[in-house]
Each structure stands twice: as structure tokens, then as C-alpha cells.
């Protein structure tokens, strides 16, 4: 019961985040006249379709124009274009929520559709693929290396890791990606510089998959490279803080094997603060993915953002801003659950 209450509270807070972002986006769009332009574009597009349809049935050009004018007024009323922008805030929030933002100006989906929903949603799996793969790899390396370093504090490798962790705070992912392209792609020609598949893509399922992995190698390597240092450092420091507690000394005094002390008395206790730090690191990894995709021409949402900015495609930018917030909030909620599971105190204080 208490668990559900705690999680419900967190969920409510995160729903609040989504709403705040939505309102912020919609108010900005309304107050700057952006939403007017977007809706006018939607109306114009529907009018184009209607004109073609009506031209078949109504032969008299004057009557055709008259009918079209009436339809236009109807449509403008329907979209609320005749009212001031703040009266259509709720409707606009609904449109953003369902990604019902009409058509993109220049961007197209892979099969040629210009609906914003199609364009944005088909990119989601590619972004998820990049972020989750690199996150899993980083987590495995970070936990393993962090635990290893915590047992040899003050050694040269420990100090080196601290410095590298600090340095990775100053190394933007996109710049690391550019360096990797310059060295591994342009100079040594080991990896492709970007894209999803070679052109032409190889025949056969397995070969195609291998080709995809080969193309994903550099972007994933970039994301791992810029975040693994900080991860390792956080894990090491948290473990170290726990290792100095009395219950660990007590466990050692009882003669428990070192491996068991590490697993049960240090790792388990240090898990919640490590999870907190992972939550905080998520912001960076999502931002990093936007720019990394741009550098590697990886057809995810980040690259779409870059293309949408370049072609000034307003509807796509609104949709992407919302999608990124949604993804981020969803990921945070998963980690909140993890946190509650890991830390019994959270469960009890909630009662």
C-alpha cells in the first residue's frame, strides 16, 4: 500500500512535469503567433484538398469560390483561428499530446508521408536503440570498474579514473563524436562516418544486422566514452562512503569473506544513492543523444531535430520537444520504481 502511495506521488509529480512543459510550449507558441501560423497552414492544406474535390462537382467558378470561402470560414472557426490564442490553449494541449500537428513543411517520413505523427514516431526506435544500448554498456562498465576501484583507493589507477571522470564533464558528446570520426573514420577508415546502413545495404538478414551494428559502433562508443568516467567515479565514491561505515567494519570483523562484504554490506546499501546519480545523469545522456545523432547522421529524433531546425519546420520541433520530455519523464519513472524497490526507507517513511 505504502509502495503504491509513494509511486503514485512520484507519478503525479512527473505528470505535472509533462503538463508544465506542455503549457510552456503551448503558451510560447500562442503568445509569439506561432500557433496561428501552424493552424493557418493546416487550414490551407485542407482547403487545397477540398478545392480539388469540389472542382469535380461544382463547375461554375464563381460558385466554387463562394463555397470554398464558406468552407474556409467554417474551418477557421473549427480550429479557433477567429478567437484569440489563449482561448484555444486546451485544444492546442490536446493536439500536442496526440502529436496531431498537421503536416511537416519539408520533412518527410521514410515512406514519404508528411504527417508529423508519422515522421516523429518512426524515429523513436532508432533513438531508443542508441540510448539504451549505450546506457546498458555504460552501466555494466561503470559498476564493474567502480567496485574494483573502491577496493584500491589512492592507487594510480584510482586517481587516473577520478581525473578522467572529471575530464568527461568537460567533454561534450558531439565533440567526442567528431574526434572519433576524424580518427577512426576519416584517417583510419575502420568505421563508417554515419548513417544506418551502407549504401547499398548488404543482402540477407544477418549481414544487414551486422551492417547496422557496424554503423552503430561509433555513436554508441561516443556516448559510452563521455559518460563512463562519471559513472565509475560515482559508483566508486558511493561504495567508498559506505565502506567506511561501522557495519562494514563489523562484517569484516566477523570474518566474512571480502566478496560477500562487498555484495551484501556495501553494494546493497550504496545502491539507492547510486540510482539517484543515475537519474541525474539521464538529463545529460538525452541531450548528448540529440547532438550525437546529429554528428553521426543517425536517423533518430535528435537528427530529426537538427533537420527540423535547418528547414524551420515548426510542427516537427513542437512534436519533438514534447516527445523528448515524455521519453525523459518515462525513463525517470522507471528509475523511481527502481529506487523505491532498492531503498526500504522510502517505503517506510511514506507510511
Amino acid at each position: 500500500m505504502a509502495l503504491a502511495y509513494t509511486l503514485g506521488l512520484r507519478a503525479l509529480s512527473l505528470v505535472g512535469v509533462v503538463l508544465v512543459v506542455l503549457v510552456l510550449v503551448v503558451v510560447t507558441l500562442g503568445a509569439t503567433g506561432f500557433s496561428d501560423r501552424m493552424l493557418t497552414a493546416i487550414v490551407s492544406e485542407e482547403m487545397r484538398g477540398q478545392r480539388q474535390a469540389l472542382a469535380e462537382t461544382i463547375r461554375d467558378p464563381e460558385r466554387l469560390e463562394e463555397t470554398l470561402r464558406e468552407r474556409r470560414i467554417d474551418l477557421e472557426e473549427f480550429y479557433g483561428l477567429d478567437d484569440p490564442w489563449y482561448t484555444r490553449l486546451p485544444a492546442m494541449v490536446g493536439r500536442v499530446l496526440t502529436l496531431d500537428l498537421g503536416s511537416a513543411r519539408n520533412l518527410r517520413s521514410f515512406d514519404g508521408s508528411s504527417r508529423v505523427t508519422d515522421i516523429v514516431l518512426e524515429r523513436v526506435p532508432y533513438s531508443m536503440m542508441l540510448v539504451t544500448t549505450s546506457l546498458v554498456i555504460t552501466a555494466i562498465i561503470g559498476l564493474w570498474l567502480g567496485a574494483k576501484l573502491a577496493t584500491r583507493v589512492g592507487t594510480r589507477s584510482d586517481r587516473l579514473t577520478s581525473y578522467l571522470a572529471a575530464a568527461s564533464n568537460a567533454l561534450p558528446a558531439w565533440w567526442a563524436g567528431i574526434l572519433l570520426i576524424l580518427v577512426l573514420s576519416f584517417q583510419l577508415r575502420i568505421f563508417p562516418s554515419g548513417g544506418l546502413y551502407s549504401s547499398p545495404p548488404p543482402e540477407g538478414e544477418l549481414l544487414r544486422f551486422m551492417d547496422l551494428l557496424w554503423h552503430a559502433a561509433l555513436p554508441v562508443l561516443t556516448l559510452v566514452l563521455v559518460s563512463v568516467g562519471a559513472w565509475t567515479y560515482v559508483v566508486r565514491t558511493m561504495l567508498l562512503n559506505t565502506a567506511q561505515e561501522f557495519h562494514v567494519t563489523a562484517a569484516r570483523a566477523r570474518g566474512l569473506p571480502e566478496g560477500q562484504v562487498m555484495r551484501r554490506h556495501i553494494l546493497r546499501v550504496a545502491a539507492p544513492p547510486i540510482a539517484t546519480n543515475i537519474i541525474l545523469a539521464l538529463t545529460g545522456s538525452i541531450g548528448g543523444a540529440i547532438l550525437t545523432e546529429t554528428v553521426f547522421n543517425w536517423p533518430g529524433m535528435g537528427r530529426l531535430y537538427f533537420d527540423a531546425i535547418t528547414t524551420a519546420d515548426e510542427a516537427v520541433i513542437v512534436a519533438l520537444t514534447f516527445m523528448f520530455t515524455l521519453m525523459y519523464v518515462a525513463a525517470r519513472f522507471v528509475l523511481e520504481i527502481l529506487y523505491v524497490v532498492l531503498d526500504p526507507r522510502v517505503r517506510y517513511t511514506a507510511q
Binding site: S13, L14, G16, V17, V20, V21, L24, V25, T28, L29, T32, F34, G154, S162, Y163, A166, A167, N169, A170, L171, P172, W174, W175, I178, L179, I181, L182, F186, S193, T283, I286, G287, I290, L291, T294, V295, Y305, F306, I309, T310, E314, I317, V318, L320, T321, F324, T325, Y328, V329, R332
Partner: protein, 477 residues
């Protein structure tokens, strides 16, 4: 801990010394910039192609000549007064001679002649240019009459006052024809218009090796370019003359595809980066500290409201919102900084509140309260100063985040066009495809500078750790 003591602890560590050294360099360069640059540098020079016309395009730095092939040096000759004046009757010929040693196997990348303001009374002056080569031959490649007096003008007639008359010889039809004539006369080589196109420099700075194709053997040695301006009245005046034999290498940092001197752009980026980083982090820290202490101290509804707001704000992914807002509201640097401040303070507020709660329930506060100290005095004299080192460390830690956020935004093409930043230089390079052509001098330096600047503050934050955590201080000493 007093500030002096804290500084000593910071200086004791290697990262602290390195950080402070780097910061000193960054600040020094930044302070130099206002002396050498106009404030509207971005609009008037950096993003104005005319200002960079006489520079070679996409040329690597000059020091690359130390290794590998010898690319020709970039030569610009400016003269305000003629090197020689010859008077023949009413006509005066001003001769501007520029002698240079062309020692490269590669010809100059382009040639151009510019004439500054010209004023005349009677007949319009005639401008011509010839090139004397090491083999004794002289090629006349330019002959142009300044546009004459219009009916509505009264002498003295002034020409090219706003902008010098620039003749880009490498693309000038008359110059190409003149060069074809020169080759036919001296070497018997007949070239079509298409064949001389793009080969003007090779032809002028070489000897033909074939009798019917545009193939030339480089000719090194001393060249003299002479620009003649013939005027027909003693009161006529010529302001200045410039001749450019563009090189294959340029300056300290090379140029981009527009010919912009990357060294100037990179140098201008120093103060911009520091201002972005420091002012946003200072503002965000002040806000965060104020709300954190207020929230922890007042409790009740104020506390709840501040905590709820902070909680929501820290949960918003910054970069997507930043991209959206800048795209909609306009590409202004102050806007970027404002948004970074608005989203930057809540993190600190949450941490400080929990610290205040801890301190408030401590004995020190209780004792000062018993002594009759006011709320405000306790808040600032006792609570704030106890947390001051931590706040400073947080401020330093936030600085690189702000610099990197701006750089990332610029890299997406949302930089402020009136102020060139490192991120923008990188973005232009990336968009032009510089990484795929191998223009490393365009891509590497801005990124390295961004990383070094961010690194400076990270090192300082690292050195602050012993100040915050006495346990670490003992082990470090």
C-alpha cells in the same frame, strides 16, 4: 574556513594550480579582446563576406609549411603613396611596385587588385597592372578606365569612396583574355577561354610545357607586380592601392571556406565563452542560494511551494526545451543565458534546503538564538557562511555546463549570429562537411578551446573538494 585559507587548500593540489593557471590565461586573452575588436565584430566583420574577400579560402595554418609540401605564403601589399611618379605632359603615372619572392612550386591561389578612393577633375584615371617575372618577361593583365563623369556630377568626381574597387583577377574576363594574349605572344601557346579558366595563376607563375594544353612548369624567383594609375590633372588623387597574391596557407589558425581568419574568430570566442559561463552560473547560484535558504528557513507554505516548483523544474529535460524556446523566441545570446539561469537554480535550491534544515536544528543556531540574534542574522551570518564554500563549488561546477549548453545549441545551428562563438565556428565547419574533407584546422581548435575552458572550471571544482570535505584534506596533505 576563511577565503584565504580555502585558496591555499586549492593551490596545494595539482588540479587547483592547473585550473587557476588556465583561468588566468583565459581571463587575460578575454581582456585583450575589447582592445582589438569592435563591439559589433560579429555583424560587421565576422558574418560579412566582403571583409574576408582577400583571404585564401579553406587554407590551413601557415605553420603547416614546416612539414610537408611548401604551399605559397599569403601576400598582401598595401600602398598609400606610389613608389614612383612619372610625369609625361599633362598625364601623371603613379607606379605602385610590389616585389616578392615566390619560392613555392604551387602558384598563388588567386590574385586581386584593389584601388581605394579615386577623385578626378578632367578625364577619368586609367588603372593597369603588370607582372614582371623572374625570366625577364612581363605580362600585362589588367587595363581599366575608372567610370567617367556623369552629367549630374561636378568635379572633383569621387569613385570607390565607400568600398574600394576590387578586381578579382582570377575570375576577371579581361584578365583572362590578357593572359591568353601573353601566352600566345611569348610562348606561342594558344589556349581557349575554357582552358585558361582556373589556370591563370599557373600560367603567370610558370612556363608552358606543352604547345597546345594548359600545362605549366612552376617558375620560382622574384616577381614584381606593378600597378599603374594614370591621372590627367594635378589635383587628382588616389587614396590607396592593394595587391594580393593569395597563398595556400594562412595565419596562425588558417581560414574557413569563406576565407575568414579563424584565429580572429576563435580569439573573439574567449570573452564570449567566459561571459556565458560565469554570468549564468553566478546568477543561477544567487537565485538557488536565496530560494534554498528561504525554503529551509521559513518552512510552511513557502517551503512547499519552492520545493514543488524546484522538483518540477529539475525534472524538465533542459536541452529540448532550450532548443524549442530559442527556435521560437529567436537566436539571442541573452535569451540562452536567461533560460539557463531559469532552469539552473532549482538543483542548488533542493540541496541547500536540506543543508539548512540540518544546520538549523544544530546547536550552533540554538546557541545564537539564545544569545538573541535575529532571524536574518542567523540566516546569513551563521547558516550562509557555513555553506559558502559548498555554494562556491557548486557555482564553479555549473559554469562548464552553461558553456557546453551554449556550444551544443550553437552546434545545432541556433547560435546568436551577432556574436561568433566557438560552437558556431564548429557548426559552420560541420555543416560545410569539413570533417569529411579533412579541414582539421577548422574543426579541431574550436572544440579543443571549448573543452579546455570547460576543463578549467572542472579542475577548479575538483580542487575545491578538500575545502568541502575535511577528511579529504588530511589525506591530500
Amino acid at each position: 574556513m576563511r577565503p584565504g585559507e580555502a585558496l591555499r587548500v586549492v593551490l596545494r593540489s595539482g588540479s587547483g594550480r592547473l585550473g587557476i593557471g588556465l583561468l588566468a590565461v583565459l581571463v587575460f586573452v578575454s581582456l585583450l579582446v575589447p582592445f582589438f575588436y569592435p563591439l559589433d565584430f560579429g555583424l560587421r566583420f565576422w558574418n560579412n563576406p566582403i571583409a574576408w574577400a582577400d583571404n585564401p579560402k579553406a587554407a590551413p595554418p601557415a605553420w603547416t609549411n614546416l612539414v610537408g609540401d611548401q604551399a605559397p605564403r599569403h601576400r598582401v601589399f598595401d600602398a598609400e603613396s606610389p613608389s614612383q611618379t612619372v610625369e609625361t605632359g599633362p598625364a601623371t603615372t603613379r607606379l605602385y611596385s610590389f616585389t616578392f619572392d615566390h619560392d613555392s612550386e604551387t602558384p598563388p591561389t588567386f590574385l586581386s587588385v584593389s584601388v581605394g578612393e579615386v577623385s578626378f577633375y578632367d578625364r577619368p584615371p586609367v588603372i593597369s597592372m603588370s607582372l614582371a617575372r623572374p625570366d625577364g618577361l612581363t605580362a600585362t593583365i589588367l587595363q581599366e578606365v575608372v567610370r567617367g563623369q556623369r552629367p549630374d556630377e561636378t568635379p572633383p568626381v569621387s569613385r570607390f569612396a565607400d568600398e574600394p574597387r576590387r578586381i578579382f583577377l582570377s575570375g576577371d574576363t579581361n584578365a583572362l583574355t590578357a593572359a591568353t594574349d601573353f601566352l600566345l605572344q611569348e610562348f606561342g601557346l594558344r589556349l581557349s577561354e575554357a582552358e585558361i579558366q582556373g589556370n591563370l595563376e599557373a600560367a603567370l607563375f610558370g612556363t608552358p610545357t606543352s604547345s597546345d594544353a594548359p600545362e605549366f612548369e612552376p617558375l620560382t624567383g622574384e616577381y614584381t607586380a606593378t600597378i599603374r594609375v594614370i591621372t590627367y590633372d594635378s589635383r587628382d588623387a588616389v587614396e590607396s592601392v592593394r595587391f594580393v597574391a593569395a597563398g595556400g596557407v594562412f595565419g596562425l589558425m588558417g581560414t574557413d571556406t569563406q576565407g575568414r581568419n579563424l584565429a580572429t574568430g576563435l580569439m573573439f570566442g574567449f570573452p564570449v565563452a567566459l561571459i556565458i559561463g560565469i554570468s549564468t552560473s553566478v546568477a543561477a547560484t544567487i537565485l538557488g542560494t536565496f530560494f534554498g535558504i528561504l525554503s529551509g528557513f521559513s518552512g510552511g507554505r513557502t517551503d512547499t511551494i519552492i520545493q514543488r516548483v524546484s522538483d518540477v523544474m529539475t525534472n524538465i529535460p533542459l536541452l529540448p526545451i532550450l532548443i524549442f524556446l530559442i527556435f521560437v523566441l529567436g537566436q539571442k545570446l541573452w535569451l540562452v543565458m536567461t533560460i539557463l539561469v531559469i532552469f539552473g537554480w532549482p538543483g542548488l535550491t533542493i540541496i541547500l534546503r536540506s543543508m539548512v534544515l540540518q544546520v538549523r536544528s544544530g546547536q550552533l543556531v540554538e546557541a545564537t538564538q539564545a544569545l538573541g540574534a535575529s532571524r536574518w542574522r542567523i540566516m546569513f551570518r551563521h547558516v550562509f557562511f557555513q555553506m559558502a564554500p559548498f555554494i562556491v563549488a557548486q557555482m564553479i561546477f555549473f559554469t562548464p555546463a552553461a558553456i557546453l549548453a551554449e556550444a551544443g545549441l550553437s552546434f545545432l545551428g541556433l547560435g546568436d549570429p551577432s556574436l561568433p562563438t566557438w560552437g558556431q565556428i564548429l557548426e559552420q565547419g560541420f555543416r560545410t562537411g569539413a570533417i569529411f574533407i579533412g579541414y582539421w584546422w577548422w574543426i579541431l581548435p574550436p572544440g579543443i578551446l571549448i573543452v579546455i575552458t570547460a576543463m578549467t572550471f572542472v579542475l577548479l571544482a575538483l580542487a575545491m573538494e578538500p575545502v568541502l570535505n575535511p577528511r579529504l584534506r588530511e589525506t591530500a596533505a
